[in-house]
Subunit: 349 residues, 2 copies
DNA sequence: GTGAAAGCGCTAACAC
DNA sequence: GTGTTAGCGCTTTCAC
C-alpha cells in the first residue's frame, strides 16, 4: 500500500483514491463534493480513503476547472494602521467562516500599487474584491475596469461615487451628531468643533452633524467656534490656543478625530484648563490610546470589525448573484456609530 | 475574433494572442516569460499584443502547470493586534516587492483554526508558510507535517524549539538588559522588575536580561524588587502598591511590557509619586499609546516591520533552496531591540 | 450511480 | 527560434 513517507512526499490525487477503490476519478470527485448522484456507500468509502491517504483537494486545479477560486482580494492602505487591521480582522474572520481565503494587498496610499493589486487579483482569478481607496487616487479607471469585467467589487470606508458599486461605511454625520448632542446633554453650553479638511467628505459630514445637533437642540451656530484644523495632534493644540484666545471661549468641543482631540486635551492642559470640569472633549475613531490617556477620551466607535463583516457579506451576495443581473448595484450599507463615554466628557462642575 | 465564451468571461488567453500573430501558444508563453530563445522582435510583438488585448496571465493555470504558486501563507493570531498588523505590513510589502502574494489567516489563538489554515495553504499550494504560533497550541504535529512534506516554514515572534525550522524573533534578553541599564545610567539606584508568567520564554528571558544588567553594573539582585505580574494594566497597578508598601521601595522599574508599565504609572500617580522625578519606568513593546500618555512611556521597540521583512526573506531563500538540501534548518534571526527614551525615564531629580 | 472523454490555461520536454 | 505534444489535477458534460 502506502508508506507514511510516500503519503507525505508525493501529492495524493483523486486518481490515487480512484485506483485504490476501483473507481474513476470522476466518481471520486463527485463523492468528495457530496454529489447526491453518488451512492452513500461510495461517498463514504471515498471520503474515508481520502482521509486515510491524507488527500487534499488541489485548489488550483479545482478553481481552474470550475472557474470559482473561493478567494477574494482585499486592498487596504496599510496593515499598520489600526483601523484597517481591525477591518481586516472582520473580513478574514467572516471570509474564513464562509470558506473563502483572502489575498491581502497594501496600497500605501499609492494609485500605482492599487493598480498592481488589481492586476494581481485578476491574475489570481479572485471571485471578488474588497477595497478601501488610496488617498492618492483621483482617477478611478482601474476600478471602472473591474465593473466592466463584471468582477464583484465592494468599497469599504473610503468610497467613491463615480464608481457604482456596493459599499460599507460609517455614518459620519450621525456620529458627529451623537457626539455633539452628548456634550450638550452633559451640560456644556458653548460647544466648538475642531474640523478637518472640508473637501474630504468624511470631515464635511462631521461638521454638518455637529451643526445639526446644535440646531436640533436650539443652540445657535457660531462660526467662531469652528476651528479649521488638519487632522493632527498639532492642530488640536492650536485649536486650544485659539479657543482660549476668544473673549468668550467654548466650554466643550467635538474634535473631528482622536488625534485632534488628543492635541486639544494637551493644549488645554497646558493652559491649566480642567477636563472635564471646565471643558468637555469628544473625539472620533476610538483609537487605542483613548482609554489610556488622562483623562480618558470619549469617542465615537467606527465599528471596524462589523464593517469588515458587512463588506464581506455584501461581496458574497454579489458573487452569488453575479450573472443574475440582480440590481444590487446601489446597495450602500451605513453603519451606526457608537458613543463611548469616558472621562473627557463627564460633565461640568 | 473573440469567442462567445471569452466575451462572457472577459478573459484573453495566450491562444488569442497566438492566433492574432500567427504563432503558437507555446511561443507566446515563452515570449511573455522573456525566454531568451525567442527572438527580440517576436517577444516585443507578443508583449505589445498582450498589452493591447489587456491580457493577464492566469495564475491558476500557470501555477498548476509550473508547480510554483508565488503565493505564501501567513498565520497570525489576529490582525486586530497592533503588533501583528505591523509585522504583516512588513511581510506584505516585502513579498509584493518580490512578486509574491500573501494569503492571510488568523488563528484567534486556536489550534483548530491553525490547522485549518495549514490545510487551506496546502490546498492552495502555497510556496511556503510564515507563522506565529497560537497561544493554545501545545501539540505541534501540524507544523511537523509541513516539515515532512518539505513545505518551507518560518516562524516569527512566537517560535517553538520542537520544530526545527528557521525563525525570526526579537532579542528579549537584550531588550531587557538595555532597558534596565538605561534606568541605571539615568541615575536610578534601586531598580525593580514587574514580571510576566515565567513559563513563557519571552518573559523569563526578560527577567534574565534585567538580572544580568544589574550584575554587569555591580548592583545586587534583590528578590523583593521583582513583582510577579500577569501582563495587564491591573498587575502594573498592584506592583505600584506592592513597591510602595516596602520599607525601602525601588526608585525605578522595568516593566515586562507596556500595559504593565501603564498600570504601574497609573498606580504610582495614585500614590502621588512623581514620574520620572521620583520613579523611573521603562516598558517593552512600543505600543501606540506610549507617546500619548502622561508622562510618555519609554519602551523597547520590537522591530515589527523589520521582523516581517526578515521573515519573508528567510522564507524566500528556503523556497529557492528547497531541493538543494542546503542546511538552512538552523537559521535563527534575532533582531536587535531598540530603546526609545521618552519622559518616563528621564532621570531623577 | 458510475464511466468516458474533454478540457480549464498554461508550461515544458522534445522535436527540427 | 518556433512548433508539436502532452499533461498539471480537477470538474463536467454526456453517455448508459
Amino acid at each position: 500500500m502506502h508508506t507514511i513517507a510516500q503519503i507525505l512526499t508525493n501529492r495524493v490525487t483523486i486518481h490515487d483514491i480512484a485506483r485504490e477503490l476501483n473507481l474513476t476519478a470522476a466518481t471520486v470527485s463527485r463523492a468528495l463534493n457530496n454529489n447526491p448522484r453518488i451512492s452513500t456507500e461510495t461517498t463514504q468509502l471515498v471520503q474515508d480513503k481520502a482521509d486515510q491517504l491524507r488527500y487534499r483537494r488541489d485548489k488550483l486545479a479545482s478553481s481552474l476547472r470550475s472557474g470559482q477560486s473561493h478567494t477574494i482580494g482585499v486592498i487596504i492602505p496599510s496593515a499598520q494602521i489600526n483601523f484597517f487591521g481591525s477591518v481586516v480582522h472582520g473580513i478574514e474572520t467572516t471570509a474564513s467562516e464562509n470558506g473563502y481565503s483572502i489575498i491581502l494587498y497594501q496600497s500605501e496610499e499609492k494609485t500605482a500599487i492599487e493598480k498592481k493589486a488589481i492586476d494581481t487579483f485578476l491574475s489570481a482569478r479572485v471571485d471578488g474584491i474588497l477595497a478601501s481607496i488610496a488617498k492618492e487616487t483621483v482617477n478611478f479607471s482601474h476600478y471602472a475596469e473591474l465593473k466592466k469585467r463584471n468582477v464583484p467589487l465592494v468599497f469599504f470606508d473610503r468610497i467613491n461615487d463615480d464608481i457604482e458599486t456596493p459599499s460599507v461605511m460609517i455614518d459620519d454625520y450621525k456620529g458627529a451628531f451623537i457626539a455633539t448632542e452628548h456634550l450638550i446633554k452633559k451640560g456644556y453650553k458653548n460647544i466648538g468643533h475642531v474640523s478637518g479638511p472640508l473637501h474630504i467628505k468624511t470631515f464635511s459630514a462631521r461638521l454638518n452633524g455637529y451643526k445639526e445637533a446644535l440646531r436640533a437642540n436650539g443652540i445657535d451656530f457660531d462660526e467662531a467656534f469652528v476651528y479649521q484644523g488638519d487632522v493632527s495632534i498639532e492642530s488640536g493644540k492650536k485649536a486650544a490656543d485659539y479657543y482660549l484666545s476668544l473673549e468668550s471661549p467654548p466650554d466643550a468641543a467635538f474634535a473631528v478625530e482622536d488625534f485632534t482631540a488628543l492635541g486639544l486635551i494637551k493644549g488645554l492642559k497646558e493652559h491649566k484648563i480642567k477636563i472635564p470640569d471646565e471643558f468637555g472633549v469628544v473625539g472620533f475613531a476610538n483609537e487605542s490610546f483613548d482609554e489610556h490617556i488622562t483623562p480618558s477620551l470619549s469617542s465615537i466607535d467606527q465599528q471596524t470589525v462589523e464593517m469588515g463583516k458587512e463588506a464581506f457579506n455584501l461581496l458574497k451576495s454579489l458573487i452569488k448573484t453575479r450573472n443574475c443581473n440582480v440590481m444590487l448595484d446601489h446597495n450602500h450599507i451605513v453603519l451606526e456609530p457608537i458613543l463611548l463615554c469616558r472621562e473627557s466628557s463627564a460633565g461640568k462642575k
